[in-house]
């Protein structure tokens, strides 16, 4: 038992370590920060494209926004400060996804609520269907048990598979 606990503890440490590595990976490097934040922002010219993916001819906004972002990242502004300054300047639609504050939070919560409810519902359905009794058979006929059917299943497998 203690051996099992030890393995579980080790596994949880490994999982935490992996999460930390994924969380910290790439953070801090200005180029990757520019790339990461630039993909969280939209170009505001009306093209409906991510800032760093907007390249249509004669876009009046994306170049200026990129320069602004590069300057903020070079200054060492935090991610949230950069995003706040963009929101103040261009409005909330400049963020490519809803924030995790106030009503916007529901955008993120609802898919997971649906996931949990959906899985719960399917599990309930599966349990209910599994607990249903066998359909009644005509008098004198006894349903075959799994043990009786297994040889036939094996025979079918041999004749139809490898």
């Amino acid at each position: 038992m203690s051996n099992r606990k030890h393995i579980l503890r080790r596994a949880s440490h490994c999982a935490l370590l992996c999460l930390a590595i994924f969380g910290l990976a790439g953070a801090g490097d200005p180029a990757s920060r520019f790339n990461e934040i630039g993909h969280q922002l939209m170009c505001i010219c009306g093209c409906n494209e991510i800032l760093l993916e907007c390249n249509h001819v004669g876009c009046p906004d994306s170049d200026g926004m990129r320069n602004e972002l590069m300057a903020a990242v070079s200054r060492g502004d935090s991610d949230s400060l950069v995003e706040q300054s963009f929101v103040q300047r261009y409005g909330p639609t400049v963020l490519a996804a809803p924030t995790k504050k106030g009503f916007d939070r529901t955008a993120w919560i609802m898919p997971f609520v649906a996931l949990v409810l959906g899985f719960g519902l399917v599990v309930l359905v599966v349990r209910a269907w599994r607990n249903r009794p066998e359909p009644a058979l005509a008098d004198g006929i006894r349903p075959a048990s799994d043990a009786e059917l297994d040889p036939f299943r094996e025979q079918a497998r041999k004749e139809t598979e490898l």
């Binding site: 939209m42 907007c54 249509h56 909330p92 609802m110 898919p111 959906g118 269907w129 249903r132």
Partner: protein, 681 residues
């Protein structure tokens, strides 16, 4: 032409009204003469196709005749427009595309009404329901969005021309495919509602509906991927999917339709999920109409959307009415759909279909929620927010991964119950093979480029990509093992080659093995998607002899030039492409200025290989008159197009009738001493 077209539309409206009203009366009041009345309604439905076709031909003819007295032709065509795009004018704008909808609906109805002998009563119900849908679309083109409206003021010498982004060969096929998909979902809906109204006994309607749904699903799949291809090759932003509301609108009915194609098997094999399937068919149709509403009402901002107009109200009413009618009929007749559900094991095909349906529905809800959230936010807090790629990537990718896992696992589970031994036997080698593929991709050096050297610990998107590689390989190997096992049994029995055995195997159960080919296509598409995590891009002003390095390529600007014709003026850059010091290609990205519409557009030049695409965009000219080139290296994009073709091929395969099962005749040796019955002389 305007007069012919307008009268043809009015005639079609009258015919659809007759087909609906008298078809309905014949079904509601059966008795003496009702069959003859019903037959006239069916024939009116057949004839209305001719009337709508005449209207469509009139509009296309007007485009070819440069009849700019018609406002629609003036706004969407011009004299110098190449002939294929003049043909495509039919679906280039709001009014024309609604006429095209009506035409396709009438064409589907035409086929349905000609095949009525399959089951006259069920087809009569379906015909009436279809006539009601047709009535709505024809009323729309007659009264709210008439494509034959005349232009006010003096006659115009030339038109405004077609939107620059639409002047691309795929423009001629992408919208028809998409519309065939959207419109086609009206047919399964008509059959389902008809079956519900008449309390249709048995599962025959499901067999009929399934084939129609497969055809429609195939068209929609084709339309969606052609749209992606079009975006990739025309918009010049280096992407094939942008989670735009209009793209989402096409994805939602596709997802629910896919769920239906799976769950319908439960009803056919086990008589389960009858109510669920009925709702899925309805939801698919309803979401297709909702997509059209989104595109045309202007309620949600999109780069693809048609101009804002009043027809959104028409669609809102139609959506509400169709929902109310379905709910009412369902409430009255749902007891007819009662079925006995019993599940013997969690490790069974049935439970895998349940989870499959759940995941498809969740994905649909995620997309629907993300599409509507900006509007909901505006209603609730008074300001709009953007719901773009980062949101969908976070909520949809995990669900898509689970679906991919089920795609691998589901087909190998048996109906009712799968033993542990069977699971081990079926999954061991595919799992080992998939793990080997994932480890190989992970440990190979990054300098190999493309998907190689995927280090999942450096970025979460690379972790997703690696998982996708593993799951796609698992799907591919399970599909391959299914073909191999079945083929081997036939080979042992017949002595044919393995390939011939697999062909025979597929022909004996085209739906099952066609489905496997679709799954294989899905795996290829997913591998293509995971390449997006490794995209690179670079932008540079390039004069004569300037060099740019990106990925394993070096680009050298050889020259830049200009061209001019009556329809367009263009600027070209001519770039030599080197790899490992060797010249491998010359590429010519171009920027085009369309004169009639006064619009500019880019046409990227793309060098596609299985490993990656080198994608060059001519972004514009610098102040010095030099071209500004944006280069992208997009790994594995070609896999998406190959996968899409596989999906369409698999769907086509699933529609081929099964070969009859061979009669088993045991070969016996002739008795050598027997005397012949006759010698032949």
């Amino acid at each position: 032409m305007a007069t012919i077209g307008s009268y043809a539309l009015l005639l079609a409206l009258a015919l659809s009204g007759y087909s609906f009203l008298f078809g309905f009366l014949a079904l509601m009041f059966p008795g003496e003469g009702s069959e003859r009345v019903g037959e006239t309604a069916r024939r009116a439905g057949v004839a209305l196709f001719g009337a709508v076709l005449l209207a469509a031909v009139a509009l296309v003819t007007a485009a070819f005749q440069n009849d700019f007295t018609i406002a629609y032709i003036f706004h969407h065509s011009n004299r110098a427009l190449p002939a294929p795009y003049k043909f495509a004018v039919l679906w280039s704008g709001q009014e024309g595309s609604l006429l095209f909808w009506s035409l396709l609906l009438a064409a589907y109805g035409f086929v349905l009404r000609l095949r009525y002998k399959t089951d006259p009563r069920l087809f009569a119900y379906a015909s009436v329901i279809l006539a009601a849908v047709q009535l709505f679309f024809l009323a729309l083109v007659c009264f709210a969005a008439n494509p034959f409206g005349l232009i006010e003021g003096p006659p115009r010498a030339d038109g405004s021309g077609l939107n620059a982004l639409l002047q691309f060969p795929e423009m001629v096929i992408h919208p028809p495919m998409l519309y065939l998909g959207y419109v086609g979902f009206a047919i399964p809906f008509a059959f389902a509602l008809g079956a519900l109204i008449m309390k249709y006994p048995g599962e025959k309607w499901i067999h009929i509906t399934r084939r129609w749904t497969m055809v429609t699903w195939g068209f929609l799949t084709c339309g969606i991927f052609l749209g992606s291809h079009w975006a990739y090759y025309v918009l010049g932003w280096g992407g094939y999917w942008g989670w735009d509301p209009v793209e989402n609108a096409s994805l939602m009915p596709w997802l629910v339709g896919t769920a239906f194609l799976h769950s319908v098997m439960m009803q056919e094999k086990r008589g389960m999920l009858k109510v669920w399937n009925m709702w899925l068919v309805f939801a698919t149709f309803w979401l297709a109409i909702l997509g059209t509403f989104l595109t045309r009402s202007g309620i949600i901002n999109s780069v693809h959307a048609f101009a804002q107009s009043s027809i959104g109200t028409w669609f809102a009413f139609f959506l509400a009415i169709s929902f109310a009618v379905f709910v009412l009929v369902f409430a009255l007749n749902h007891k007819h759909l009662r079925s006995e559900h019993r599940l013997e094991s969690l490790a069974s095909r049935e439970s895998s279909f349940l989870f499959n349906n759940l995941l498809f529905l969740l994905l649909t809800l995620d997309v629907l929620w993300g599409t509507w959230f900006p509007k909901i936010s505006e209603w609730v807090q008074g300001n709009k927010v953007t719901v773009g790629g980062p949101f969908y990537n976070r909520v949809a990718i995990p669900v898509a991964m689970l679906l991919l896992l089920l795609t691998a696992v589901g087909p190998l589970l048996a109906w009712r119950k799968t033993s542990f031994e069977s699971l081990k036997r079926n999954f061991m080698w595919p799992t080992i093979g998939a793990l080997a593929a994932a480890v190989f991709v992970m440990i190979t050096p990054s300098r190999w480029g493309s998907i190689f050297g995927l280090r999942p610990w450096t970025d979460i998107s690379l972790l997703y990509s690696l998982m996708t590689v593993f799951l796609s390989a698992l799907v591919t190997l399970t599909v391959a093992s299914e073909f191999y096992r079945g083929g081997r049994v036939i080979r042992e029995k017949t002595g044919q080659s393995m390939f011939a055995s697999m062909v025979q195997l597929t022909h004996r159960n085209t739906r099952r093995y066609g489905g496997y080919v679709v799954h294989f296509g899905v795996a290829l598409v997913m591998i293509g998607f995971c390449g997006a995590a490794l995209n690179q891009d670079k932008e540079m002003e390039m004069g004569y002899g300037d060099r740019m390095s990106i990925g394993s390529y070096e680009l050298v600007c050889r020259s830049y030039t200009q061209d001019d014709n009556p329809n367009q003026a263009s600027e070209w850059a001519i770039l030599d492409v080197y790899q490992n010091g060797q010249k491998i290609d010359t590429m010519t990205p171009v920027r085009i200025f369309y004169k009639a519409g006064q619009q500019a557009s880019t046409k990227p030049d793309i060098r596609s290989t299985l490993k990656e695409d080198l994608y060059l965009v001519y972004e514009g000219q610098s102040e010095k008159g030099r071209p500004i080139i944006k280069a992208h290296v997009n790994p594995l994009v070609m896999w998406i197009w190959i996968g899409a073709w596989m999906m369409v091929l698999g769907t086509g395969l699933g529609l081929v009738p099964n070969a009859p099962a061979p009669v088993a005749v045991r070969a016996t040796r002739l008795v050598e001493t027997a005397t012949p019955v006759a010698t032949g002389d």
